[in-house]
Each structure stands twice: as C-alpha cells, then as structure tokens.
C-alpha cells in the first residue's frame, strides 16, 4: 500500500526525470523478454495443440457417427455464443462477473490482511490458523444450498462462496511472502532499531508482493468457479441458470457457449492481474542482463 504511493511507476502524473529513467529501465527489461522470433518459438507448440483439438472437436460427431447434441461442433458453439450474446449470454455474464469481481476483491483484501495478522502475532496464528485451514475442508457443494436458504437467491450467497474459496491462496501466499526475507535482513533492521511498522512496510510487505500476486492470480481464476457453484445451488440470473435450463432441453451448444464465456472471464481476470502485477512490481521482472 505504501509501496504504491512511493513507486513513481504507479503515478501517471507529475513524473520526475528520475522516475522516467526508472520506467525506461523496466520497459527495457520487459522488451528483452519478447521479440517476434522468440514468440513464435514459445507459442508454436501451444498453437498447434489448440488448433488440433479444435479440428478434432469440430469433426467428432462425423467421425464417431454421433448426433450433434452429444458434442456440438465448435462452429455451432461459437455461432450460438455470438448470435445469442446480446439477449442471453452478455446479461448473464455481467451478473456472474459482478459476483466474481466483488467476491475476489473482498477475498484479496481479506487474504492479505489475514496473512499479515497471522505473521505478526504468534498467538493469533495459533488460534486462527486451524480455523482458516479447516474452512478449506468444508465441501462448498454442500454448503452452497444452505447459503441460499440463509441469504436467498440474490448475489450475496454467491459472493460468500467466491470469498470462501479464494481468500485461502492469498492468505497462504501472503504468509509465505512475509516470512521470505533473509534472517540477516531482520538482524540488519534490528541493528538499526527499526520499528515493527518500518520492518513491515519497508521490507516485509514489498518482499511479499511477488508471492501475494502469485496467490492473487490463482484466486482470480478459481473465483469464476466459485461464482458458478454459488449460482448452481440456486439463482435466477447468471451463467449457471442459463446452463441448467439449456442442459435440461438438450441444448448442449448453449451449455458449451456458456462455458466459453466462463473461460473468457477466467482468462480476463488472470490477464488483468498480470497487468496490475507488472505495474506494481516491475522490479520483479528485472534480470541481470537487462542493464
């Protein structure tokens, strides 16, 4: 939090020449990791595999002599996703996306604060850690219908489920990150009579940021599953009801189209996190050869 204020790369206005220089260092580092030839080499295998799977999928029913509803051809799924976007998928996705986003933001803050508390106080850690861990053993599928009974068919129970399953990776990674600093770093700070506050904001927290982002990226992807499970247990709006209705009438192309929207949401969340990470901790991407 303090990092964000201090880091000139974060502030779009009022840049000094030093901060511009700093930016160019980071940009150079980022550019070094790319290059068109390298991109071809890096992504070629993935592209070949994906295209292969797409061709197989498109021709599956023809090959194995199955009716279309078993595995609707990819082209049909995509045309369904496009044709019914306006009146079906986009409004439903927007509902699900709100649940994902609100749940994820709450979980991120909760996870970071909880991780910090667990690291700073041994007593609280002993008391709280078993509860935090056992919260992860509760089967979400079992508890989702109960949450609907408690909180109704609105957005709230879905957000609760998203928070429940996504705060944990953030918490664990925050704890790991805050404890990652070298033992002698603690000694150095103690020799300077640093306060606990200084130790946390000058060293522990920034050092934890790469770990925290790893946790956030994991959580961002599974938050989509959380929202979906929440909706599955009882919802009137969102992508899950769309899928349930379509499935019961054998409209499998709608089911798959909805899955496409869900996946896109997961990819979007991950990509957004990646962008934020590059802005917040550009130093993490520096390597020795970039100077």
């Amino acid at each position: 939090m303090k990092m964000a204020v201090e880091d000139p790369a974060m502030s779009p206005s009022g840049e000094s020449s030093a901060s511009l220089k700093k930016r160019s260092i980071f940009r150079k580092a980022a550019a070094n990791s790319g290059g068109p030839r390298r991109m071809v080499r890096d992504y070629f295998p993935a592209v070949v595999l994906v295209v292969g799977i797409m061709i197989f999928w498109e021709n599956f029913n023809a090959l194995f002599n199955q009716p279309d509803y078993i595995l609707p051809p990819l082209s049909k799924v995509i045309s369904t996703a496009v044709d019914q976007a306006g009146d079906k998928f986009l409004p439903a996705s927007w509902v699900t996306f709100q649940e994902v986003l609100i749940g994820f933001v709450i979980a991120a803050l909760l996870g970071i604060v909880l991780g910090a508390i667990l690291t700073e106080s041994r007593t609280i850690r002993r008391a709280l850690f078993p509860i935090v861990i056992s919260s992860q053993t509760v089967p979400i599928l079992a508890i989702a219908p109960v949450l609907v009974i408690w909180f109704g068919f609105g957005m709230f129970p879905k957000i609760v489920i998203v928070v429940l399953i996504t705060f944990f990776p953030v918490t664990i990674m925050t704890v790991t990150g805050l404890e990652s600093i070298h033992r002698d770093m603690v000694n150095l700070l103690r020799s300077l009579s640093a306060t606990r506050w200084q130790m946390f904001f000058r060293v522990r927290f920034p050092a934890a940021l790469p770990f925290i982002f790893a946790g956030l990226k994991t959580s961002a992807v599974i938050s989509v599953i959380g929202a979906f499970v929440g909706e599955y247990a009882g919802a009137t709006e969102g992508l899950a009801p769309v899928m349930i209705i379509a499935n019961s009438s054998f409209q499998t192309e709608v089911v798959f189209a909805a899955i496409l929207y869900l996946s896109a949401m997961g990819v979007f969340m991950y990509g957004a996190l990646l962008l934020i990470e590059r802005r917040v901790i550009p130093w993490h991407y520096l390597t020795q050869d970039s100077g």
Partner: protein
C-alpha cells in the same frame, strides 16, 4: 551535516564474554564462547580469524547488541551503554539489498530507518556514491549489478548510517577470489579516508593479514581467543604485498597456529 570524511570513531572493549545456548544435544547447554577478551582502539582495523563454527558471528551479534552475552561486558569508549546498537554499523555476508529500490534508495535505507527525511537521505546517498566511485550505478537496481558491486553498495549503506564502529561479518565471503582481492583493496582505500573503527570477521587468513592492523585468532569448541598478532605491514597496502616475504611469513605463522589447533580438535572426542 556529517560528511563521510569527518572523524567519527570510538573504541571497543570486550571483557570476559562467555555465551551459552540451550541445546538438548549437549546436555542442556552448549558453550559457544568462553572468556573472550579483546580491545579495538579508535580507528583501528581488527580482524578476527577462525574456523567455521568457532562462534565468530556470535561475537559480532553480542558486540552489536543484538544478543546479550551469558556473562561479560561490552564497553564503548570504556563505558557500558544502555543501548549500544546505536554505535555500530553492521554488514553481513549477504548484501541484503532490496530488489525494489535502486542503489541510491538502498544506500539511503539505513538513514531513512533512523529517521532522516527521505529527500535528505537520498541526497546523502548520492553524495557518498559519487565520492566512492559508484555514482553511475545510483539508478541501477541490485539485480542489474555484479556481486562485488552489490557488496560495495551494502558497505556504503553501512557507512552512511554515521556510526563510529563498523562490524563486518565475512563481507566478501560470497565473492570469487579475484573479486575478493579487488574488494579488499577498495575497502582499505575507503577505510583510510573515513578512519572508522572496523571489526571484521573471516575464515580467510590471507584476507585477515591483508586488511588488519591486528589479527585475533580464534579456536572452536568453545570459541575463545588463542592469540593476537600485530600486522606490521606498511600502509597504504595494495595487492602487490600479497607475495612479499613479510606477508607470507605472517600468513604462515597464523596458518600453523590454526592448523595445529584444528588438528588437535579433530583428534579429540566429537561432542554430539
């Protein structure tokens, strides 16, 4: 404002320091230091040399005030002080530079922790970097520098804390032999200009002889001081003395002493 060439120094006395750690493997307690006595005069460069595990690092922890000894005293200018941490700049084998701060920010860290306003701390950091030939690295990040450069920055950070006595815990232990020689010469040139009191520990005999006014030899199990030797080599020293007769003689003497001791310890029963 204090500049780096101002005289800032103090003398250090360690009197009868013993230290025991609780240890279930050694019958409840493990004595790591026994009756350690030594003195470092104002502006003197003293090196403690001894084998790994002889309690060298524990001495520095105790001297610096991070660890209280089981018995004995640490005196600054002949007096016991309530919080002696304020007298020491402590440097470790690991450079401990923060990867998210550039070199200027890293060098300023100590001052900023001590409460100097950020702007002032950074400008002092720039000055000291310029003064000791690291000016062009001020904007670089630690991951962009070599190990030797990072250690230089770490030393600058230690120096900038404006503390009279510097404690250096195997500062060049992670560097290769050639870089280590370069760094040793550099350290001497900085010390000759700043005249701080320095207590350095190492297991490298050559390093000890090259740097020190006086070498303190330690033995292990439990760690105690075996002998002290003055190094009468002329200053300023450069690496050319490494092959001189006088240098090799002193080196041999220390080596024989430590070797005999190490062999004796190895023959004895191993406490476990």
């Amino acid at each position: 404002m204090t500049t780096q060439t101002d005289v800032l120094t103090a003398e250090l006395t360690v009197k009868g320091v013993s230290h025991r750690f609780p240890s279930s493997a050694h019958g409840g307690e493990l004595t790591v230091l026994r009756d350690v006595d030594f003195h470092v005069a104002s502006g003197e460069f003293v090196v403690i040399v001894g084998p790994s595990g002889c309690g060298k690092s524990t001495i520095l922890s105790i001297v610096s005030g991070l660890l209280e000894p089981s018995s004995g005293q640490v005196l600054i200018d002949g007096e016991e002080v309530p919080d002696r941490r304020a007298f020491f700049g402590y440097m470790f084998q690991n450079d401990l530079l923060l990867p998210w701060e550039n070199i200027q920010g890293n060098v300023a860290l100590g001052l900023e922790i001590l409460g100097t306003p950020k702007k002032e701390a950074r400008s002092q950091a720039s000055e000291i970097l310029e003064e000791f030939g690291l000016g062009k690295f001020a904007d670089k990040y630690p991951s962009q520098l070599s190990g030797g450069m990072r250690q230089r920055a770490a030393f600058m950070r230690t120096l900038l804390c404006h503390r009279p006595i510097l404690l250096l815990d195997e500062p060049f232990g992670a560097l290769d032999a050639l870089n280590r020689s370069v760094m040793q010469e550099w350290l001497l040139s900085v010390w000759e200009r700043t005249k701080r009191t320095i207590l350095l520990i190492t297991h490298d005999i050559e390093e000890a002889v090259f740097l020190a006014d006086r070498v303190i030899l330690m033995t292990s199990r439990p760690g105690r001081i075996n002998r002290q030797l003055k190094v009468p080599l002329e200053r300023p020293r450069t690496h050319s003395i490494l092959t001189s007769q006088e240098f090799t003689d002193i080196k041999r003497e220390i080596f024989e002493e430590l070797f005999t001791e190490a062999a004796r310890v190895d023959d004895g029963p191993v406490p476990s």
